[in-house]
């Protein structure tokens, strides 16, 4: 039973809330309209994961709601990982808020698992104290899965006792779709699952079931298939000139992630642990391991890897600009290397028989990458619906290839999301032409002239829709009135008036 690696897991509860700096008041983090994390004060009021926004607000009036920002989570987690890394090399980030390390070496050095755990807790508390009073819990057990459960309870599970420790947990801890089925069959705890014979589980539930069974028995999910890949799978890119902007570096990283994924896929492999290494202009060399969640489809693939590399670069680069000390890189990024440290056979997605939609999407992605390569990453954008009163504010343009959050990234508190109400918003239909820079216009004697052009008579008009935005901020404050104006030639404009200055904001082309 000793095939599982003795693992220590550091778990920071409610990390998305902590990263948003909201853990001391009732707050919830939403993704796709559902609560994914909430602070302790909110939980006392009855807010729980999976609630809809309205339900959560009903249970806890005054709840602060923010959208989920995975990049921000990862950035805030960087100091914690750095603190843990003081004990040993080879810290793996499982996801922002959870990291793991193999205890064999450090435990012997510090005098046992308990002693190591205590030191890690103290070290993390010291850093996280600055990050808004986050607490962390540490657990030690055989295997990552058991260690994560142990971390939630803050215990050290003795060697070889992982299976017994896990026996009482419900099967729902496994995640995915399997637990539903298991519960309907009367298998409610991991202990009950572990008692079934392995071949029977494999025969009935397939590879997913076999993995679940291994986990339930306190074994590692991977060790049988995991292997250290030959070194030529690593992808290295030297950047010349050095990249000092995150966008540039992230764009390079995206291409590298695609290439790595392609290389692995050619061998029928998928990476479960990737080392991200970076060298900076003045010789610093930083490296960090990210675990790619193998259980869920969304945690895999090139896009997921590219996201993680981006988060990591963001962490390093923003540390350089904010912090005074620590291991801060200086200058630009000169070299980036992605090393797949653990791989396993890809038993994942099946492509559509005729190529299908995915093939089309991949073809588009390749063509757009080519355009981006020529014109720069910001040249290709995708529109994401956003909130706002003016037509220009109702969509947000995001460079192609960046993850599409449903949010203004990092926007703290308030109703930052795009859903109504936006009182004073111009009702639909929306104008088909929205001028990036409003065009000057003149209105006099019932006639309109756009950009010094010919005058034409105004035949009908509607409005005004008054707008008094951001009055609390002198620089961004806007006070104007909007009018819909139709001229004799059948053209409708959306005009905005500020004093006696008129501008064409949009045209109903």
């Amino acid at each position: 039973m000793s095939s599982a690696v003795r693992t220590l897991v550091v778990w920071c509860p409610d990390w998305p809330v902590v990263a948003a700096g909201l853990c001391d008041r009732p707050a919830a983090v939403l993704e796709a309209g559902r609560v994914v994390a909430c602070s302790a004060p909110a939980r006392v009021e009855g807010v729980a994961r999976g609630l809809r926004r309205r339900q959560a607000e009903a249970r806890c009036p005054g709840l602060v709601v923010v959208d989920h920002d995975p990049a921000g989570d990862a950035r805030a987690f960087e100091p914690v990982v750095a603190a843990v890394e003081a004990f040993t090399t080879g810290v793996e980030i499982v996801r922002p808020g959870v990291c793991a390390l193999a205890t064999r070496g450090p435990s012997r050095y510090f005098g046992g698992d308990e002693a190591l755990a205590a030191r890690v807790v103290a070290a993390v508390a010291a850093v996280a104290g600055g990050a808004g009073g986050a607490e962390c819990r540490v657990g030690v057990a055989d295997g990552l899965f058991a260690a994560e459960r142990a971390a939630r309870r803050g215990v050290v599970v003795p060697v070889g006792a992982s299976a017994a420790f896990l026996a009482d947990f419900g099967v729902s801890t496994l995640g995915g779709e399997l637990p539903d089925l298991l519960v309907r069959l009367g298998i409610r705890t991991l202990g009950q699952l572990a008692m079934l014979p392995a071949p029977a589980v494999l025969a009935r539930f397939g590879p997913d079931g076999a993995v679940a069974h291994r986990l339930a028995r306190g074994l590692d999910e991977r060790p049988l298939a995991a292997r250290v890949p030959p070194p030529d799978l690593a992808v290295t890119v030297e950047l010349d000139p050095p990249a000092d902007r995150l966008e540039t570096a992230a764009f390079v990283a995206k291409g590298m992630a695609d290439r790595l994924h392609e290389r692995l896929a050619a061998d029928g492999l998928t990476a479960t642990l990737v080392l991200v290494e970076a060298e900076w202009e003045h010789g610093e060399r930083l490296g960090r391991r990210w675990r790619l969640d193998g259980q869920s489809g969304s945690g895999r693939g090139a896009a997921a890897l590219a996201d993680r590399v981006r988060w990591q670069l963001d962490g390093w680069m923003s540390a350089a600009s904010v912090d005074g000390d620590a291991e801060r890189p200086s200058g630009g990024l000169t070299l980036l290397r992605l090393v797949p440290e653990e791989v396993r056979a890809d038993d994942g997605r099946q492509l559509g028989f005729w190529g299908g939609d995915r093939a089309a999407a991949e073809r588009v992605a390749r063509a757009l990458a080519r355009v981006q390569g020529m014109l720069g990453p910001e040249a290709v954008v995708v529109a994401v619906p956003a909130g706002g009163r003016s037509p220009a504010e109702q969509v947000r343009l995001v460079p192609w290839g960046e993850s599409l959050p449903g949010s203004g990234a990092g926007s703290s508190a308030s109703s930052g999301s795009g859903r109504p109400p936006w009182p004073g918003r111009i009702p639909s239909p929306a104008p088909a032409v929205v001028h990036p820079v409003p065009v000057a216009a003149e209105v006099a004697g019932g006639r309109l002239s756009v950009a010094g052009g010919p005058w034409s008579a105004v035949t009908s008009w509607a409005g005004p829709w008054p707008l008094d935005e951001r009055w609390w901020d002198a620089a961004a404050a806007r006070q104007r009135a909007r009018w819909q104006v139709v001229t004799a030639d059948g053209v409708a404009h959306l005009l905005s008036q500020h004093g006696d200055r008129w501008e064409v904001e949009a045209t109903y082309d």
Binding site: V371, P429, T459, S460, G490, Y508
Partner: protein
Amino acid sequence: MAVVAPLSPELVERAQPVALAGERLLPVLPALRPLLPAGGLRRGSVVTVGAAGAAGTGATSLALSLLAAASAEGSWGAAVGLPALGLAAAAELGVVLERIPLVASPGPEPGGPGGWAWVVAALLDACDVVLARPVRGLRAADARRLTARVRERAGVLVVVGDGWSEPAEIRLTVVSSTWEGVGRGHGRLRARRVEVVAGGRGAAARERRVALWLPGPEGGVQEVVDEQRRPHARRVVS
């Protein structure tokens, strides 16, 4: 073992079922079918959309609505050289925003690498429909090469506005446009009645004239039904 990805493109090509004539068409909204002789956008064709009178009488909306049905059925589109495109309007007309990447400003030289023609050609390789406004200084040779590219890649190029010198399979022109719902200081823009004339080459040479709501009172695009039966529709027109 699931990795079917390295299947060679030729093999996929050969294994694909024979395309029926109907599959060579991209769907359009029902109201737009009378404008197009085939009842849809024929792959490999160029469609120009313009306005007869003043700019701003509905050409952009008409071009966006051409994309709507194909976009909703999973086709990818792209928009090139349209920095002012109203994306909220696109979404209202039924275009799926996440499947229409935008290249607002291609490189400065239209025919050069990274220029307008280059970007349109690159996107035609992958997308079913490319919406583009020609830039000034586009040479006839580049336009001709793009026409050939459209045919070869079996995409559809929708050209908005002037500046396309090549003949197009279908030419759509908005000849009149009237807004409804807005009065002299009251109401709001609700619906627009446009008259569109379709011409072109081959089957499209016979001129067609269609009256459309673009958008209709409930949003979306509808054909104008018999005027006589709803006299109140006219009353609001100023």
